[in-house]
Amino acid sequence: MRYGGDNRGRLLIIVLVVTTLFLITLDLRGVQVISGLRTGTQTALTPVQRAGSWVVSPFRNFLSDVTHLGRTRNQIEKLKSENDKLRLTLQNRKVADAQLTQLKSVLNLAGTAGYKVVNAKVISQGSSTSFTQTITIDAGTSSGIHTNMTVLSGYGLVGVVKYAYTSSALVQLASDPAFRIGARVAGTQQIGILSGQGTRKGVLQLLDNTTTIHKGDALLARGSDNGRPFVPGVPIGEVTGVDNSPGSVTQTADVKFYSNFSTLGVVAVVVSGASADPRDSLVPAKPRPTPIPTVTVYATPGAVAPSPTATK
């Protein structure tokens, strides 16, 4: 028999829906108890996430290897030739090396600008089920991290600290659809607002329609009052396309972020900005083509021996 519903069932549904609407209202009005619930949950979850990060690490590496099968094929062949013990050691070392490389590059960036940073490991990546882009790091208020602090990787901007807990913090990535940052174009100093789009690409909206922007232009953070939420001069990304529609009110451009948000291992939180604006000093250098040495051999009929000439 199909369910027809009764008064008790209807009453239950009404009670549940009213309770939910009550909770939404309380949360939107900023009641402390509700935010305390979330903070308490996160504090309780942090040890579980740390343990999970340690346990899941080999599986995550495996998934990463599958995703980048072409690039790691040679490495896999090399690993096959070694015994199990060496293979395990190498895998553990690989994780540490990758984090060390990321740490070195992020410290280089922060050192060049003169930022005071706190380094942190990424212990969790937020589920995309809620259409947000976040990560959780293993440092919080006990390490001097607070909300609205800039987060960097070795390549540039990663995001901003959204919530800081005792020993962890939630970082809103620059790719999050709700993310907005004031940006300026390196060199020309044109300003605009960059917004995340849920992917590694963002959209820049210039404030002045008379200015021009070109493909390949580098974008830097304009900075905020007292360096929060954004310190000035942080590299954000590169312009990959410009929309020059004649009817548009403002000019827009597609931007590819320098940071790859799916491979973040170690990040740095800027706890104190530089004493002076680093201006354009953090713009990443353009890649230079490496000269390939070639050898040309001229064969002369009748000659005793050909002489090779090296050219670059």
Binding site: M1, R2, Y3, G5, R8, G9, L12, I13, L16, V17, T19, T20, L21, F22, L23, I24, L26, D27, L28, I34, L37, R38, T41, Q42, L45, V48, Q49, A51, G52, S53, V55, V56, S57, F59, R60, L63, S64, T67, I123, S124, Q125, G126, S127, S128, T129, S130, F131, T132, T134, T136, Y163, L170, D176, P177, A178, G196, Q197, G198, T199, S262
Partner: protein, 173 residues
Amino acid sequence: MSLRSFLLSSPIFLGVFLFQEGFVTQLRLPAGGINLLLVVALIWSALSTPEIGALTGFGAGIAMDLSQTSPGPLGHWTLVLIAACYTIAFLGYGDDNIRGNPINIVLLTTIGVVASQIVYLILGLMLGQQIGSLGNIFFLLAGSAFWTAIISPLILKVISYLHSSIFGTRTRL
């Protein structure tokens, strides 16, 4: 009796919540991954009465709202899951064509996951949230449907066993 049985099921959902937050989110699965708590709640509801379905949605929704990755206010996911779980339980209640067939439950759960996310998105828009590009939304919805269709058959037997242990053997697959 039903309420007592429902309370007995709360440790199961707490365990799933801890597993989701501590382990599943670490795997960084492609295409947005899966929300195990959402899938388990919908399967659980498909095997339950509408009242238990609504209560399950309420409990699972509160847990999902307490997740650090939930951008909306507390109650956002709860409201969506009360409706989704009640609807799924209502559709399946008394209809052995749905409840007795694992394929139908998997199909119902997959549609339920996608529908829940769409409703969540619409509700989020009404509450002033940013949702990003349409392409990304379609990609994530397709990813959710894919992972749900993969994972649901694998966990259906276990959930069915646990459900029948708590609520009796009539709904066991």
